[in-house]
Symmetry: none
Subunit: 213 residues, 4 copies
Amino acid sequence: MPRIVKDPEVRRQELLDAAEKLFGTKGYAGTAVSDIVREVGVSQGTFYYYFKSKDEIADAVIDRAVERGLAEFAPIADDGGLSADRKILRIIAHDRRGFDHGRMGGLFSRIHHEENAFLHQKLLARVVRKFAPVFARIIEQGKQEGCFRTDKDAALAAEFLLTGYQFWLDAALFRWNEEELEARLTAIGGFIETILGAEPGAFDLKRIKEREN
Amino acid sequence: MPRIVKDPEVRRQELLDAAEKLFGTKGYAGTAVSDIVREVGVSQGTFYYYFKSKDEIADAVIDRAVERGLAEFAPIADDGGLSADRKILRIIAHDRRGFDHGRMGGLFSRIHHEENAFLHQKLLARVVRKFAPVFARIIEQGKQEGCFRTDKDAALAAEFLLTGYQFWLDAALFRWNEEELEARLTAIGGFIETILGAEPGAFDLKRIKEREN
Amino acid sequence: MPRIVKDPEVRRQELLDAAEKLFGTKGYAGTAVSDIVREVGVSQGTFYYYFKSKDEIADAVIDRAVERGLAEFAPIADDGGLSADRKILRIIAHDRRGFDHGRMGGLFSRIHHEENAFLHQKLLARVVRKFAPVFARIIEQGKQEGCFRTDKDAALAAEFLLTGYQFWLDAALFRWNEEELEARLTAIGGFIETILGAEPGAFDLKRIKEREN
Amino acid sequence: MPRIVKDPEVRRQELLDAAEKLFGTKGYAGTAVSDIVREVGVSQGTFYYYFKSKDEIADAVIDRAVERGLAEFAPIADDGGLSADRKILRIIAHDRRGFDHGRMGGLFSRIHHEENAFLHQKLLARVVRKFAPVFARIIEQGKQEGCFRTDKDAALAAEFLLTGYQFWLDAALFRWNEEELEARLTAIGGFIETILGAEPGAFDLKRIKEREN
DNA sequence: TATGAATGAGCCTTCATTCAT
DNA sequence: AATGAATGAAGGCTCATTCAT
């Protein structure tokens, strides 16, 4: 086989891309290292030149996904001209749009698969740990702006809502059908609103959809 | 070598017991069928006489665990002399006691293990689907009694809170340390209370603990 | 493939036979487990049903070889009608005959191979530890009979001579050519004689050969 | 990454040093080429610039060790003012001192390791072939001086004793404990003495130790 | 009902070596 | 003289499952 040398960082990303795709398609256990290297078109040895083990690439895939998600939402979170409730609305809308466009999972996650509990869990903890602080800051902002009337700890509220959002809306996990999912999508807005003490209808996801159009 | 014949139902339960114990200890993937039969003291063949596959016994283990949980909480849920908020308090307290006594997991689940995502997920859907109706009924009761002031759909609220409870408090999942867990344990009472529109302090888990003593 | 069930002990011996043959032919490292099972005509899984690892079968092969050697020489060592020096002569002669008949190695060992140092060493320690006591007893006998005039410790002398015999005559190890080997074969008789204080010519291996014919 | 150019001979020695150290620590098979280059801080390619293969560096390591040993003992062997028995005593004492100072192996060898049979054997043949002539000359000297009363062939006696010494005292090989090793250390002096026809006590290694102090 | 020998596919990983730069 | 990315063969081992008895 022709020996094609590439910039290491490029190779690494290729491997990560392939792994992410396959993990999402066939699951972690269902994906063999040989599948990954075949996808990329490199040798088995090359894989182990870049990653110490299959487990390590899983971690790397997840880390990258989380970072990517963080980067995606940072502009919204840091936008000085937005009120706290608008920020949250936008983030949810953004996430939902991804969701509606065939990305399987809930918040920030594109590595869902029916039999992919392993990665899903790995991802979860990291998502919550990384994103909760961002949300917490938004919640704090809202409390100061007066649009969130609550005395709950912002960080814990962020964690709790994130966890519920991440899991409850995970169709692959609960095997919700479309209708069931729709109902929960609507309901969760209300729960967020209640927990944060926002004004009624602030997170009405139906209104969001309409606005999007 | 000695061929010991037992009542089929007894054998089946022995196998389920062994599987539950090992799944909880070593995880699903980490437990080989050979481990299970060794634990029980029967042959590989016997296993496949009772269960079509390893997957099937996993389902059976989970089903049994859920039924057991349901049976455990039914008396509380059906107690005609208890107000809705007391019922929920009791259920949480009961669950916590199990938790404090070395049962690893959150609600109703004794099959937690750091590397047991597969079973954990299988369990979750069933727990939520099975228990949510029970909780929903309690919530309805509370709304009628007036102690829960909310117009949210009882079934969905039950699902959402159950999901959050089940996952957020899963120390194995998030790797919470004791202190972190304690903080979340306290906080979740407030979230339940807010969602259900109960009076402040109704689900203060600290008070629960004190009462228990 | 047709599933052929055999008595476990028979299967085990078949595997040991194949392993011994292949280890001797291609060396330990050079022999793959797949080679062994192909030779026997069973599946890879069957191998691991009988042996936990490749290492374990190596130990078993060696143990069996040592036991076999021990059994081969026991009748001579225990022969009540033989003087000590005749016993040693016979043992050497017996061993040499094996040697001349294509068994590659030195004493009791049929697992020699140019690149088989690993097994060779494993074997050595066990040979020396197991056979030395037998020889020691013969030496004691000789001391009492008066044909061995020495005050050396029988056990240590046995060990030392066995070690020298085992290694020095190992053609695969030193790459002796035939002539060189012949010379050492002759010389070692004299060293044994001197160490044991036997009468001159007692272990003249040339005379042995002649007698054998 | 920084490309450091060194005198080729220096580089070669660095590689040999690293290889010798690692072979002695982790064994030949247990040492990867990548371990060696990491130790030195050069690239894989550099290794293959200096040595054609892993095998070749093993040979080189052994050659160097043997030459070093030879150089170490030459002054004693060539010392015109020493009697033959004193020379042998000194050589053994010198070797023992190395032994006592943590060099693992027996005579001249610092490449011992429990799982290092491969190198050990490679070394042995060369040690015996190279050192035997030196010893043979000392033995001849002793025969002429009259302190060794034997008619055995000096070269063969040297070989035989060297072989026994090298292997019997190899604690890693036989897994002798300290006490067992001590006993064999004492005994081997007697065997050398007997084979060479030296006067009783000539090679009493206990006396050697005392003299050393 | 129960046994346990037998299957076989498949997987992760290691590592000596090559070669374009 | 040196780099380090890339190769690819090979190998040990696990384990769910089957089946003759």
